[in-house]
Symmetry: D2
């Protein structure tokens, strides 16, 4: 957590250097999720040692983090409660509907979520995302996962704060030091990185959607290379956009999104809750676990609501 | 798969005999999901031997199984495609919304989904399910699961058919014989039972929502005792209501739902796709696996869309 | 606009005194809309003298007056834009969806919108409004209207302000004085009263949904008798709840709603925009006009979005 | 209703000949609605002679004409019923939501609804209709209307049938003969033409959405010139697409839509119910009336649900 860079490398140059296009074939739509090999998954299952489950999704309801200016919180409505029903034998049932942005709460970004220069991940043309949804890289292409070894790095704890302030750039050094502080837990090929900024705790403390969304601590652009070197399969956080906001460079918006999703093909899991998990990891000193986060198979969608499980 | 019973025991009598109310305390809202102990979960993780993932959810889209007369298929709409956007640096993003009944496709029924005689599971009053949702037994009470050992019983394969006809009563003998045919795979305390009727294959073959919903093969009422004796934690199927329809007794509608959800407290997972999993199990002779199906934490909801994973 | 009353008559006593139950038969669901006779409607059409139309609805979009804490602004989404279409001959079409609370912007309250003591208008039981909608007094019962003679009383102009402050009690004297100031325009049987508080101008000036909804100037309880004496058919305003908020009596919430809708059966039109109309009326000195505001025939709904027209 | 043409003029040639682009200025977005002059509106109000109102909208509910394969019927859901509420003084309220395609039932097509050759009405570029809605010609541009003189021509009655069969081409001769049969009622500049095919009666008789949508009787392409010669301001019908389907020319889809909306700029009102109105007109021999159909002011929308009123 060094001071904010006044300037970082042009994101296009970084993106081009770290790009994974073609690595899993010209038709690939899963990106770094491919890095989770069967062997890695078997090894990840071996991390289940005490049978404890941590649900990392946040509640989907009207009290969520959306201020309503851009996305809204989910609207849940009952269509049946059993009232006014007359079925043989006394059966009564309740039924419900939901209306929501797919990115209103805990969610996977698909690789079709962002693009620049008219191309998305793997060079697919941007026109493949139209009013009819994503013809390429939709979230249902990740239907079998993301499941593998998860590693939590608690950057807020590293700095001894409840939460890092908005605008805090998390650097590769922060990630390395957090791992060191946590007994030298390693992050390697096919792992899912979860980094904790405390931003969820801030929301739970303040219950202020506008403050939650106004900015956030998050990854600086230099972390992209760090993730590429380790061949991380997916990245998750307790903030809402993975990366630091306002960003490091006023001339570009969401540069880390562009590099990770579009160039590297890294699925991003946002707005998760690591509070209970982080406490448990701090207590038993074990920071890795089986991580299972299946997206809903929403055809042509650019995201999916999720409730990831960490199982230790 | 004996002939349809002309009459089964009054469901209230069966329900009373098999009832789990109070078993996990007067405030319990999770029912038989409590049967998945930490030890059982550790053992289930040990079933991950080859690192193969099977996604059991069906697609959420306009081509789903809802004919629209009762529930509708999901409506997925784009709010952003990158078109008409001007962000610094060239960033463009896509965003989307969904509107759907929570039970339109693959889904968990929460224990608040059905009731009779003014009481739901554990004796909670029916008025706890109101226009404002379920104050008790909502689906988010199952936030940490259902995760445990899954066992697939392929009843359609037992009878050598692509799918069992609508109205076929699956009996305890069918379940026992299917297990015997599958090398004697056991079903015990805390397991999640998946039984295959072929009803999903029927839909994939015919693409006829009205035919899919007109009836179905499924559990007869006698299977409730079979499940109770084994202390099964949850039941999933490839049909849309677990139980046989039309039911065994014309005087009562959805009796198996009432006994399983309301009396026994068994979460039900419906409209799953076991085609790929069943083929793999038939091939390697291994019918049990780690099953992970986290519901979305939709506050006060009586159901959640899901995409369960079976991991072998 | 005298100072706020410290106490007004118990609303139940007022409601009982002014009640219209049974006046149009035991099955009536239209209330004072019945007061618009064919003769009154013919006379109202005669007010169209210069062929000028004033649209009194406000825009339905994301920039509306809902802060999102209770109701939300409408969400409008495109399902087709012509993109990715291939029809014979070159035809392309656009299509769209809306999701909204029926009371998010300009709207009629049906007589089923509020109730107390387990009865709604005309004594219908409150249980007739259930999760399945309103079996009685739904908005489609007003399908043929409200159409008749409209009269605008500009209370803000009477007091020489852009808008009256929140909490300002509008009294019968205010209404009488406004009419006197406007050339003695009369309000009589079957008329639709439109009163202007300036609250819409406040919103257009400030664009602050939270401030718009925090309170409002509006009718005090004494105006109910004034409306009953004149047999007004419907009441419309540019605020969001017709009545003053906070209310005159801290022990009761929305007393004017209860008396007007439930006891008197007066349809209420809220969140209208009288700015252009008021300017025109001030200019030509003509304050009455043909008013036409058909609700959408949404079955069993308790409200309908509208765009009322005033035609002079 | 002569036999179906085997071939009609190329729609582009017809469109070019009848085009109204530039007629009301280069920025015009209202098309032929401009033809309703203040004088015409005053005259139309003069048609209100007996004070009878006819509501021409159809119900918005689950039993509507949408089979669900393309558009769906509206979904109306309650968010409040008064249950579980505790307000001071006993106040209780009901509230509701709607989710619907804007063209699911009675509706205005805006001039942005269809286009060809990359241009919509008045030459605006097709790209002005994007995922963010219609930047040009949205339905709220018609906020002040459509209100004027309506004339009903009952083509089904002309041919002595309950309804014309699907595929029946309505010709200019049909329109002329219908007018002659109805006492020589004239259709002139600024009038709103309502033509009755009986298609609504078919739906009310059969309640079969698929049959309703499978095709329809409607205007043949030659009627476009007839409408242009008379300078009709808007066209409404009881079918769902104004024009005959299947169309006159298998090589082109919805040619009448393209000419009327895109070239001539004529707002189209579809899926109306003329049953009660037609019976009244047949009874009193008066076929013209004040017609008032304000769209909801949905920003950037390409259509609006409506409930038009005919007032005699």
């Amino acid at each position: 957590m060094t001071g904010q860079h006044t300037r970082v490398e042009d994101f296009r140059a970084t993106g081009e250097r770290l790009r994974n296009w073609g690595r899993w074939g010209a038709e690939d739509e899963r990106g770094t999720a491919n890095l989770i090999t069967p062997q890695a998954l078997v090894a990840a299952a071996g991390l289940v040692r005490k049978g404890a489950v941590f649900d990392l999704g946040i509640p989907f309801d009207r009290d969520g983090p959306q201020p309503g200016t851009h996305r809204i919180n989910p609207i849940h409505l009952m269509s049946e409660t059993g009232d006014q029903q007359l079925f043989p034998g006394g059966f009564r049932y309740a039924d419900d509907y939901i209306f929501m942005p797919l990115q209103c709460a805990s969610q996977w970004d698909s690789l079709a979520h962002v693009y620049y220069d008219d191309q998305m991940y793997n060079g697919f043309p941007a026109r493949d995302v139209s009013v009819k949804g994503a013809a390429r890289c939709a979230i249902d292409k990740q239907a079998k996962g993301i499941a593998g070894r998860g590693v939590l790095l608690d950057v807020a704890a590293l700095h001894g704060v409840d939460w890092l302030p908005a605008g805090t750039v998390i650097t590769p050094d922060d990630l390395d030091e957090a791992a060191r502080r946590q007994g030298g837990v390693g992050v390697g090929p096919g792992d899912i990185l979860l980094f904790r900024t405390g931003w969820r705790r801030k929301f739970l403390t303040e219950r202020d959607p506008a403050a939650f969304m106004a900015g956030e601590p998050g990854l600086g652009q230099d972390c992209c290379a760090w993730l590429r070197e380790r061949d991380v399969a997916a990245v998750c956080s307790d903030n809402w956009a993975i990366e630091v906001l306002p960003g490091e460079n006023p001339d570009v918006f969401l540069n880390v999104h562009m590099i990770l999703l579009r160039d590297m093909g890294v699925p991003l899991g946002e707005m998760l809750d690591f509070e209970e998990l982080a406490a448990d990891c701090a207590h038993d000193g074990v920071w890795d676990f089986l991580f299972v986060a299946p997206p809903l198979k929403i055809s042509r969608a650019v995201a999916s609501p999720i409730n990831p499980l960490a199982i230790k």
